[in-house]
Symmetry: C2
Subunit: 903 residues, 2 copies
């Protein structure tokens, strides 16, 4: 006969940790804790298989099936807890909790019933045994409310308040109480009667007083909750199978509010903030778990050392501390000793920092829960390094413990905790680039530069940024924009610079002179602060703490190095960025955008001269002036990445990005270039596009104006020849952007190879270089077998590939993407995490087809996804050679790549 | 031993028609004509295999290989023609032509040498035998010029004139001649000497006087021309294999300019303009083929009946006609009789109308060429019907003879031939919608309506059109725009209306009051004329002839009906369009765009009210006013297509398409809707998008504003219920546009089905309807298996699918598409003919995946490609159920679909 019920308690259990599929996560863990000798309130788990049977056979059949096993399990629980279920003579009443517990956690999705077993008899015994009538009746009224709601379906009708809460409010009003704790035992007795009447009225039947009826009702309610619409929706979103079902955990209740010999608390086996190997936590005497959370009373430290540190921080004298806020170590030394041994045992057992909940009932310690504790990025690194040193875990485990995104916390400034606690949040936007920044507002790039030069820390505040704002962005500590998504210009560039950025901040209005936000107006020179990791915008100046990397971080990077197959490159447009990334372990540049170079200083004027040229000859003339500048840029970058490949993308953006939009700037342009204004305005108008994203850009420029490609190819190969002559080892990989047909690539490749041959002949030296292409147009992916016959490498430009595959403009999608995510149409923003189902399908397709034509083709990704862990894992699985991301994402990508390899 | 040379002449031949791969098209045809007893100048064909050998082995080896066979073939030719190659005694000199001839025609791509065999001796004999010294020396100088250029590589150097033409010009100038014919024999003798000197100077060797050297030089030149860059490019574009090679045809020259017993002409076995079964053609006595083309002399009619008709048209008296312009039938009755018999024999043999060239040399008729003749659309239809009636061909052959696009000529007005011959072309644009139109210029939609109401024929001239111009487009005869491609608003709407449209006309500038073109300015009321089939714009009024369909057209449609698997639907937004299309044989509507309905009359104001609404309640209020209007529209369209499926697409365009852009119209909007102007301008600004094509539109509207979908679904189902109650058989297919994820579809489907259930309950009647989706986003195609689990039909929106797959904005692509086509990067505009390699791959993918989830899923296409023959064939092969196109393309699509099925 199949076993449906697994008991646990008093140091033994029928289940164990590896039975999660059958017992659910919680059930397996409760069994495991018993097995290793941790005191856990006894109880039993009804298996997930029963849930499946319940959905097929229905309630009655399942109760029949379970009856004997459950009755036996309740008896075992009674024995273990020395209590009696239902009122049996004078024994202490056994109260039960009934909770769901699926294979994976589905927080808040399913039903829970507490204090089960309560009735008019039991409440009296509990009041007597606990010596606390108010506690007993409050437990009773809570039980009716919860059971009435969860099992009997009593809830607020449309347009009305919750009927139970209405009674509570009325009683408080009538008696002038402010908080629930003031409600007396007498009040509660009356409330219990009213609650029973409400249940009868709304549910049409009496509230069940028989504990067994209560138990079966609760068990079935948990099974029913597996199929509520919100649970189904949650499973769809999280891809949890319908078939898995939930287990039901029935467990004895214990109470920390049964007098001064009782208490409750939470504790951690190591310091979750710093990672220090120091047991710590908080507790309250004579309290329930929710009291610790509610914050009405100040919780006390568990350890003496923690308590003393707390007193020091709060300026409390040792005497006062000892009298009013003694540590558990002092107040209940025996219990403390047991707890300390248990925490060590649990950490040793689970081989990770534990976050535990406990209750002391009448001097007896019960552990309610243990789980791996959450931690800061710094703690995550330190704990893993320490545990590896201690021999608790091996290198692979230590590496797998790193949440890649959390490494960000180590790389960027963060707010001072004390300062941020007092700060006022003005708005919340998108966390476009991580870190914290504080400074004075500047509303133009030029003013940002001036204010910074005058010694101010500056926040650049713009409606949106464009390449013309680059100097201002460099000068600023952080960037705030009214518009734009996670892949807007501001966001992408800020991430590249490692600067904090908040974009699309809610309800803000930015002009050229002020920022209106939350009903206030801030002008130039007013302080604001940004948290680019959360998207929060704060009023005034909030102190920040600069990031510092210690040796532990280096160890983590070494683990990644030891365990990876795929390597990591960086997206960098300047020698400085290249150097930063190289320090973080980047092995080459996956994307060097040549257009960014054109905005610096006077260069834009030469570019504009080229754009205004009327014919090929005119363009060639202007390009001649750009050639030495480009050569110098490439020289610097190739030198900074000496020995590693540098993928240089030929000119990509539409030409109108280089021309000014406002009349004043157009006048300036006309004056500077010595042409009539009309010529400038006509050119600007001629360059206008309805959908620039799908317009005249990428290799469409190189194929209509081959002289641009010629000039860029010449600059690259000249720089390469010069470096090789000087003894360096430059490895340029010339990338043709935005191809959709193999012909587009072939024509560009011909130009590049022909120019390269010329340059090498002129310079009298042979150099190696590759010519490849970006795969960012769906058609290029679909015809990758043809493209790969000519291209030596593919770099997946997943930003644009996502735009075209979804048909989303990343500049406009903010209008519907948040609603799509809210409605569950999308699980996440596809510009943040690569859409593996759709866009990923095209990537896989292109990888397969590309390799079919050229087995040794070099494959990488250079979209923003290259620094996002789930996308990095996808790239590993798909067999790419490398990912490329902004310099500050390199460590994250390295860890993600190594983890993918271990998985 | 492999045979390399195939002779023909004097009624026998070694090759035949089905040896095209070996002998090339021309060679096989020359052989075939001999075999059926047509007099063809004798000669021989060197096979295509020799070309391949030539490329591998080189010149010397191939000449060695061919030598014996060619010498024998020349001897055979001498015998057949009673002439001698080289000067052998007093015999008539045999002159030869050497021409290329590949498997498929590559017009103008490869080299030709005429009058080969000429030298100082031969020219004298020819002068004597022909009695025409001028002719003989002119032939000689032509030969030196052609051979010098083609074989010896003498050509103009950069920046200089052609050296031969320079001599000719100098001689004419010195002697005051105006045309070449005035140059005397004496002049020509001197010219020949000068030409020889030029060759020696430029080529560095003497002009070869030995006819055999000339022959081998010419044969090798033809083989060499297979690999010229332009021939290679042409083959790439036309997908002709490099391996096929070209044959070389060496054939005796015959001369029509050897006196009054000689002549030359072209003739047709039926009337190429009308299709009438009447032999016809033109000839000239004592002339070469090029004289007929040059137009210096007036060619005469071949038949007496033709000659009399000509005289009547030109007001020439019978006496004058007979004296000066006698028909060949009168002038050379014996030759005429032979020619008439031959034309009949050739038509019977090739079973199609023949276009023939002939030469009469000294009373002897020689046929130089025969091929299937080009014809007008009307003639194409009539000939096929007649030949089927005559039993010459069967129904399938008759159907395959229809060039689908040519049927257009029967459906639209065309210019009067006499009128157009005299008209001045002002510009050429894209042939955006076929037909001819003449009328006065109107520069706004409103003026177009007024002028039309006043009885004028109007041409609407706009920079570009928008939905606000619809009324003006309806009122106009034709539309001319400065901007926009083949799928611009103007083009798409005009094709739907069956109106002529020319878009992106070169070098024109349109304002609100005038049209500047070719240096002239035209104001309101000035006449212009448009040919939407060619893209030409004419000055002034050019008379048109209205299209009329006769019974023959109906027969062609019936053949299509008998032979098709795939059926044809129409894209129609109004009952009138639906009726037109139904007359053309459309079986349902594949795309009914609901947004077009919102621009008519006062409706736009209700739409704008909806857009301005601040919340869901406000939008619902405004939508309530649109509901009855929409219901009425759907009622009309479903009724017009009673019994056939009608695919209704839910609202698709971004909302900003419904709001005005200029300040005046925004003021009007504010006034009309009673809101402050600021509210309107703010809304317009908020709706602005950087890339509207990839923005907030399609089901993204329905999913963010579900009330829009609710209203449209209600209108459709209410109309359906009403019609069913009246005894009609409405079949709505509700189409959700622009989905990229199955969730987007599911949420819309839920709304539609829920509303439908409500309406059916209210109306007390059950109706059938389908819910499906448009596949126009690459991601939808990639995940079609998921989508098909919920969608009952797919309609491929290949316009947008092409935009996203290529990353081309059809509004902007005009900036580079023409250059791409010119450079051979693209073979054709992918918005005109479906890109089968890339976009087609996605379509096939979606068809396979869709059917895997839902085997009976209904599949169609509703992009502009649905009316383009090669795309229709693709759809047939891919297994779609139907194609849908604008009403006037329905006949074309039906023929193309049937032809695809036969193929």
């Amino acid at each position: 006969m199949t076993k449906h019920v697994y008991t646990f308690g008093a140091g033994s259990a029928e289940g164990k940790a590896d039975m999660k599929n059958l017992l659910g996560g919680k059930g397996a863990n409760l069994a495991e804790m018993n097995l290793i000798g941790v005191p856990v309130p006894a109880g039993f788990t009804i298996t997930t298989e029963v849930c499946t049977a319940y959905n097929k056979l229905g309630q009655d059949a399942v109760i029949e099936m379970l009856k004997a096993e459950v009755e036996k399990a309740v008896t075992d629980t009674e024995v273990a807890m020395n209590a009696k279920f239902g009122t049996k003579g004078e024994a202490f009443p056994l109260m039960l909790s009934v909770r769901s517990g699926a294979r994976v956690s589905m927080p808040g999705m399913m039903n829970t019933v507490l204090n089960l077993g309560m009735n008019d008899d039991a409440v009296k015994i509990l009041a007597e045994k606990s010596g606390n009538e108010q506690f007993a009746y409050d437990s009773y009224r809570r039980f009716i409310q919860m059971y009435g709601n969860v099992v009997m379906g009593v809830e607020a009708e449309e347009g009305e308040y919750d009927p139970f809460e209405e009674v509570m409010d009325r009683i408080k009003e009538e008696n002038g109480y402010k908080i629930d704790a003031e409600i007396t035992a007498e009040n509660l007795k009356a409330i219990v009667e009213e609650f029973k009447a409400i249940v009868k009225d709304k549910a049409g039947r009496e509230f069940p007083t028989n504990p067994w009826d209560q138990l079966w009702g609760s068990v079935c309610a948990v099974f029913d909750s597996w199929n509520t619409p919100r649970a189904i929706l949650y499973r769809q979103k999280e891809q949890i199978s319908e078939e898995w079902g939930t287990a039901v955990n029935v467990q004895a209740m214990v109470y920390g509010n049964m007098g001064d010999n009782s208490g409750t608390g939470v504790c951690f086996s190591r310091d979750a903030a710093t990672g220090e190997d120091q047991f710590n936590g908080e507790y309250l005497i004579n309290a329930q778990g929710e009291d610790v959370v509610a914050g009405v009373r100040t919780p006390q430290e568990i350890t003496l050392i923690g308590s003393r540190r707390w007193a020091e921080r709060n300026g409390t004298s040792e005497d006062n501390r000892k009298a009013k806020f003694p540590s558990l170590e002092e107040a209940m030394p025996k219990v403390y000793k047991e707890l300390d041994e248990i925490q060590q045992k649990l950490e040793d057992h689970y081989k990770d920092m534990q976050d535990m909940e406990f209750t002391i009932q009448d001097g007896k310690l019960w552990m309610l829960q243990t789980r791996n504790g959450k931690r800061t990025g710094a703690a995550m690194v330190k704990m893993a390094v320490d545990m590896l040193d201690e021999g608790m875990i091996d290198e692979k485990t230590a590496l797998m413990r790193q949440e890649p995104n959390k490494l960000d916390e180590l790389l960027h400034p963060v707010f001072d905790l004390a300062a941020i606690a007092k700060a006022t949040v003005l708005s919340k936007g998108l966390p476009a680039s991580p870190g914290a920044a504080t400074g004075v507002c500047a509303f133009t790039a030029a003013r940002a530069v001036e204010l910074a030069e005058a010694g101010n820390k500056v926040i650049l505040v713009r409606r949106e940024t464009s390449p013309e704002d680059l100097a201002g962005m460099y000068a600023a500590e952080g960037i705030l924009t009214e518009r734009g998504g996670m892949t807007s210009h501001a966001a992408v560039v800020a991430r590249g610079m490692g600067k904090c950025c908040v974009s699309s901040a809610a309800g803000i209005t930015v002009s050229m002179t002020s920022l209106k936000i939350a009903g206030k107006e801030y002008g130039e020179g007013d302080f604001i602060s940004l948290n680019g990791t959360t998207g929060e915008v704060y009023e005034g100046k909030v102190d920040t703490i600069t990031a510092t990397l210690d040796g532990d971080f280096g160890k983590v990077m070494q683990w990644a190095e030891n365990n990876t197959r795929m390597y990591v490159r960086t997206n960098a447009d300047s020698p400085a960025d290249a150097e930063t990334a190289r320090e973080f372990g980047a092995k080459g540049i996956g994307l060097c955008r040549t257009e960014h170079m054109f905005f610096e200083g006077d260069r834009i004027w030469k570019m504009r001269e080229m754009i205004l040229a009327e014919d090929t000859a005119g363009r060639k003339e202007a390009l001649k002036k750009l050639l030495p500048i480009q050569r110098e840029d490439f020289y610097g970058i190739l030198k900074a990445m000496d020995g590693f490949g540098v993928t240089i993308r030929l000119l990509d953006p539409p030409l109108h990005e280089f021309t000014p939009n406002d009349l004043d700037s157009q006048k300036e342009m006309a004056e500077k270039l010595g042409v009539p204004l009309a010529e400038v305005t006509e050119k600007v108008e001629a360059l206008h596009e309805f959908n620039p994203m799908l317009g005249h850009r990428g290799c469409r420029l190189g194929n209509t104006y081959p002289e641009i490609t010629e000039t860029q190819a010449r600059a690259i190969i000249e720089a390469t020849c010069d470096l090789k002559k000087e003894g360096f080892d430059p490895k340029p990989e010339i990338m043709v952007p935005l191809i959709g047909t193999v012909q587009e690539f072939k024509l560009q490749e011909e130009i590049i190879r022909s120019v390269a041959a010329d340059v090498m002949a002129e310079k009298g030296i042979e150099v190696d270089y590759m010519v490849g292409t970006m795969i960012e147009i769906p058609r290029a992916a679909l015809t990758a077998n043809e493209v790969a016959k000519h291209a030596e490498f593919f770099s997946f430009g997943t930003n644009d590939l996502t735009q075209m595959t979804f048909g989303y403009s990343r500049d406009d999608a903010a209008k519907f993407l948040p609603i799509y995510i809210e409605k569950g149409i999308l699980k996440q923003d596809p510009f943040l995490a690569l859409d593996q189902v759709g866009v990923g399908e095209l990537v896989k397709f292109a990888v397969d087809r590309g390799r079919s034509s050229r087995p040794d083709i070099k494959l990488g990704i250079c979209g923003e996804h290259g620094g996002e862990p789930s996308s990095v894992e996808f790239c590993h699985r798909t067999g790419l050679d490398y990912v490329s991301c902004s310099p500050f994402r390199v460590p994250i990508a390295r860890v993600a790549a190594a983890q993918a390899n271990i998985r």
